[in-house]
């Protein structure tokens, strides 16, 4: 039974509350780039991907790789809300604490249901391509989705992988760029401009789609278009807002890598009621 957009929006709000609370409890972490990716992950995990949280190693499951590993809180919250056994909802607030499964960046040693460990930027697209090539070789139907940061794609390896993905006609992989315009040191345009993004991916041989990354039906539509695009991989350039949903975090570079204070957590939770 597919979920309605309203239901997905409710889940997205819960996920945002989880993110703010867990990073607040950890007193460190990356709220901005977690909040910008909420709708993308909610659409994937609660609507679009063929997955079974009760059977996380199902060979034909779709894969999701969080290449921008510092946004771990959004992935943890989404997986916890989705009911994976190794991402308990009641432990989200142990994020970044000794002994927690919720490591600072995704770590398959602690959460086997994750598809990849991450944290060093620029590497997830290569992993996705390897998974896509294996799927094709084995005749398996699964598709692999990878979320990249817009700052992350400054890494050269991303473009090695982009070239290789098109060369190998890996139409079973989808790159999604969380284009929120901000990285640690400031605005992407001031640190190392990545625009024009869609044109870059097209020049590398990809099908590229630009969407509003906070509009759930647009995300879904783009994922459908990617699935029906044959002979080349697809990149979804998702225009997003860093810190989306919390007024004082939105478009504020400070909240790339700074935890909210207890008072800010309270304020944020009031906004996210």
């Amino acid at each position: 039974m597919p979920r309605s957009v309203e239901e997905l929006q409710d889940i997205a709000k819960r996920v945002r509350r989880d993110i703010v609370q867990m990073i607040g409890a950890a007193k460190s972490g990356h709220p901005g780039g977690s909040l910008s990716a909420v709708e993308i992950l909610v659409e994937l995990y609660f609507d679009f991907m063929r997955i079974d949280p009760k059977n996380p190693k199902w060979p034909d499951r779709d894969r999701f790789i969080l290449s921008k590993g510092h946004a771990a809180p959004v992935l943890y919250a989404v997986m916890a809300e989705a009911g994976y056994a190794d991402t308990p909802l009641d432990q989200l607030n142990t994020l970044r604490k000794l002994g927690s499964v919720y490591q600072g960046h995704p770590d398959v040693r602690f959460i086997p249901s994750l598809e990849a460990s991450a944290g060093s930027l620029g590497e997830g697209l290569s992993l996705a391509l390897g998974m896509g090539l294996a799927a094709r070789l084995d005749g398996r139907p699964f598709r692999t989705y990878v979320l990249l940061g817009d700052g992350e794609i400054q890494e050269g390896q991303v473009w090695e992988a982009a070239m290789a993905g098109a060369f190998h006609k890996a139409d079973n992989i989808v790159a999604i760029v969380d284009y929120n315009g901000i990285q640690l040191d400031g605005f992407v345009k001031d640190i190392m401009e990545v625009a024009p993004l869609a044109e870059k991916w097209r020049a590398f041989g990809w099908h590229a789609i630009e969407i509003d990354g906070h509009d759930l039906p647009s995300v879904r539509k783009a994922l459908c278009e990617a699935e029906s695009t044959k002979g080349k991989p697809t990149c979804i350039v998702a225009h997003t807002i860093k810190g989306k949903g919390v007024s004082f975090m939105e478009n504020n570079p400070k909240f790339h890598g700074m935890a909210p204070t207890p008072a800010e957590v309270e304020l944020a939770l009031q906004e996210l009621r």
């Binding site: 060979p59 770590d107 398959v108 040693r109 598809e115 990849a116 460990s117 991450a118 944290g119 060093s120 620029g122 590497e123 697209l125 290569s126 992993l127 996705a128 391509l129 390897g130 998974m131 896509g132 090539l133 294996a134 799927a135 070789l137 084995d138 050269g156 390896q157 090695e160 992988a161 070239m163 290789a164 060369f167 190998h168």
Partner: protein, 321 residues
């Protein structure tokens, strides 16, 4: 197997050639074996595999970082990827990816570096890998192998494929003297004592195994009884063989075609220090990049031939008196 006393050490195929041939055999036996190469397949010899199994050979272009990541993705989805390039490129340009994408999640990726050491000859230092054993050994969970000849390479490539977890195999460009019979059994982590000896133990791998055998034969004529051990597995080390060698002989030489800093020598020294401390000498490249030249000339100039091993053995034997 009883230790042999005579070796003819005739030139045999290069270890990279043995790797390429074995890869084809593995491909026939197991459809999950796949190969990634970075535009060097005609040199790494993965070209044999590419010809027979084009669907399972992934050309990655001159982009080693991505290649290692692709290998990790393939392994994550159940394949047994052999990721190959010159040692210097796959290990240095792919190191970060080997660390985060392969070692950290402990994925079943087999990394095979060819053209290791200075014996590649004329191409010079930019292509000469003299630090990759140190780099590979610094990756937790990695098995690191350095075969001496064709038979060793064939057996160890097979052992690597059967092992579950990341492996680095160090192979070379030039013809490798034949040390082993085809039937020799190899086990990861189990050193092979090639010559028995009481006065000094020479622990070597790769091309230095043959040089050490020649050195031991020369030393025998002088009345020095030298044990020769092939430490084909640099990680995990055969600690028991090292402890026994230290206790039995009280003098150890380690010989390798690698920087003396960070290679087999310092790893053996750690085990000697932890078990049965004794004088040691090291044959390796001393804190320098080499140069262009013929392989044999370079091995002579940089102190990696039998004469150098024998000199180190005499020195360490003198030190224990």
């Amino acid at each position: 197997m009883p230790a042999r006393t005579r070796f003819d050490l005739k030139p045999g195929p290069a270890t990279r050639e043995a790797f390429g041939r074995t890869l084809v055999e593995l491909g026939r036996e197991n459809k999950d074996v796949v190969v990634c190469d970075a535009d060097l397949s005609k040199s790494t010899m993965t070209t044999y595999f590419a010809k027979e199994f084009p669907d399972r050979f992934f050309s990655c272009g001159i982009a080693e970082a991505n290649m290692v990541g692709v290998g990790a993705g393939l392994a994550s989805a159940g394949k047994i990827p052999f990721v190959s390039s010159f040692s210097v490129f796959v290990m240095n340009k792919g190191f970060e990816q080997l660390r985060v994408c392969v070692a950290y999640p402990k994925l079943n990726v087999k990394v095979v570096g060819t053209h290791s050491g200075i014996s590649i000859g004329e191409d010079g230092p930019s292509q000469m890998s003299v630090e990759e054993t140190a780099l590979a050994c610094s990756l937790p969970g990695f098995v690191v192998l350095s075969p001496a000849d064709e038979a060793a390479t064939k057996a160890l490539v097979r052992a690597a494929a059967a092992h579950i977890g990341p492996v680095f195999i160090r192979t070379g460009r030039p013809k490798a003297p034949i040390v082993y019979d085809a039937g020799q059994v190899f086990e990861i982590g189990k050193a092979i004592e090639l010559i028995e000896g009481r006065d000094v133990a020479i622990i070597a791998n790769g091309l230095l195994v043959a040089e050490s055998i020649r050195a031991a034969e020369a030393l025998e004529a002088e009345g020095i009884s030298a044990r020769v051990i092939d430490m084909h597995t640099v990680k995990p080390l055969d600690r028991e063989a090292i402890r026994r060698a230290a206790e039995d002989t009280g003098a150890i030489v380690v010989a390798e075609e690698h920087l003396a800093d960070g290679g087999l020598g310092v790893r053996v020294a750690q085990v000697v220090a932890e078990t049965s401390p004794c004088p040691m000498e090291f044959v390796g490249i001393r804190d320098a990049y080499a140069e262009s030249g013929q392989p044999g000339e370079l091995m002579e100039k940089y102190g990696l031939v039998a004469r150098d091993v024998a000199a180190a053995a005499r020195k360490v034997v003198a030190r224990k008196r």
